[in-house]
Amino acid sequence: MSGDPNQQRSKSALLDVEDLRVTFPTRTGLIEAVRGVSFSLGRERLGIVGESGSGKSQTGRAIMGLTPPQARISADKLAFDGIDLLSVSPRERRSLRGKRIAMILQDPKYSLDPVMSIGRQIVETLRTHEKVGKAEARDRALAMLEAVQIRDPARVFDLHPHEVSGGMGQRAMIAMMLIAGPEMMIADEPTSALDVTVQLDVLGILDRLVGERGMGLIFISHDLRLVSSFCDRVIVMYAGKVVEQLKASELGRAQHPYTRGLLNCMPKIGADRHPLPVLDRKPEWAA
């Protein structure tokens, strides 16, 4: 495998996170949403799994630079391709966002601009980051819509977000995020708002494009089983901390009681367990 260029490149990490903390001031004091998260990402698919309040989304947002202004971020290291994300100017950060780091959010109904046609939104992303003419931008947007398996790209180009289904909207979102050719993508619950069958189509598209382009992907989700079927590696978060990191293929051999509890408590087709095992939360998990 040593001849494979992707394999070679994956040795140097794309993203390095060390002791990341995100703190929100509230009326009742400081809330630490993320408490010392460390991991590194190569050109691979990394899943971050946790329940609501585990800090998984705030971790993604801190990397993207979308943490609300009142929150405080600190880290020993938060570097993307050698660039220290905490010390760069907002201007440089903006040029990274969309160009080299992209993000897909949960619900296309809210994350697309409702008053702009889908095509114009994709073209806008492209022309923000690259000097291209209008005609070329349009052609590339159409090609990108085709790449996300939209059957009639010319028609969809002129539609507004409310005129398309959830699955189509999410494909448009992926097209918009990929058009500038990012090296890293953060997908925060990209398929949770979609029907199961559509969910698999969208994941298939994401998988193919990420693989073809050799991108690094951070896949944030509450669904441990889905993540383990899609990603190479999984990080399990609980109460703002990483409780376990493991290979997706070794999920069955998870050590931490939280990971095992989470896997166990979901109903499975064919498993006749009444009542379902419930999670017995231990205070020391959050310690």
Binding site: E51, S52, G166, D195, V196, T197, V198, Q199, L200, L203, G204, D207, H222, D223, L224, R225, L226, S228, S229, F230, G261, L262, C265, M266, P267, K268, I269, G270, R273, H274, P275, L276, P277, V278, L279, R281
Partner: protein, 249 residues
């Protein structure tokens, strides 16, 4: 034996959109029946039509042997109660839990409210400490427990459940599903439950109906689904999708 719920040739039309196209259904007393399908399949509309919340164009709905008219009377709501999907949207934000639970009792003229509220809260695993809280002071799982307590307080025989756990975390979902099973066993309730998740339906129900764009695709026993004895491609696709992502080389 008369069916708990019998639906025959039900049509629901919103403006010109036919949301239900002649759906029939039969649920026996004490049974737990599931409705599965993707969004827009009409599964929630069917549930809402039974509760009197959707415009029925034609067809009939019979509950415990009584055929329902266009309006539901009070007696109907003593027999049939509903639990909704979103625990954040289905509780009044400016009422305490106590007030929320008193409302149905007041409507139906129960005198022993105090006792019933305490019993209902105990039954769903919330102590008296929750009684004077507002819904924003509760977690999602606790809210759904309050919604279940509110549905149970009138001692109905039928519970309509519209995706009762899809807004909850996996671990909380397990707790709420266990609670629902327990109250069903204890009170011998009939469940009609909607979910997009085949695993939840096979866990909770004995029989189920698969729906697609306003029509019934097929009726199955949960055991058939477990053994993958399905006849329609649509159901097969749903089953495959619930296995998770499979990378094609």
């Amino acid at each position: 034996m008369t069916s708990a719920i019998a639906v025959d040739g039900l049509e629901v039309i919103f403006d010109r959109f036919r949301a239900l196209k002649g759906v029939s259904l039969d649920v026996q007393p004490g049974e737990s029946f599931g409705l599965v399908g993707e969004s827009g399949s009409g599964k929630s509309t069917l549930l809402r039509a039974i509760a009197g919340l959707a415009p029925v164009a034609s067809g009939s709905i019979t509950v415990n042997g009584k055929t329902l008219g266009a309006r539901r009377d009070k007696a109907f709501y003593r027999e049939v109660q509903m639990v909704f999907q979103d625990p954040y949207g289905s509780l009044h934000p400016r009422q305490t839990v106590d007030r929320l639970l008193q409302e149905p009792l007041a409507i139906h003229g129960f005198a022993d409210g105090e006792k019933r509220i305490q019993r209902a809260l105990d039954e769903v695993g919330l102590g008296n400490g929750f009684r004077f809280r507002y819904s924003h002071q509760l977690s999602g799982g606790q809210r759904q427990r309050v919604a279940i307590a509110r549905a149970l307080i009138l001692e109905p025989s039928i519970l309509l459940l519209d995706e009762p756990t899809s807004a909850l975390d996996a671990s909380v979902q397990a707790e709420v599903l266990n609670l629902l099973e327990e109250v069903r066993r204890r009170r011998k309730l009939t469940f009609l439950m909607v979910s997009h998740d085949l695993a939840i339906i096979t866990h909770m129900c004995e029989r189920l109906m698969v729906m697609q764009s306003g029509e019934a695709v097929e009726n199955l026993a949960a055991a058939d689904l477990v053994e993958r004895r399905v006849t329609k491609d649509y159901t097969r696709n749903l089953l495959r999708a619930s296995d998770g992502f499979v990378r094609t080389a």
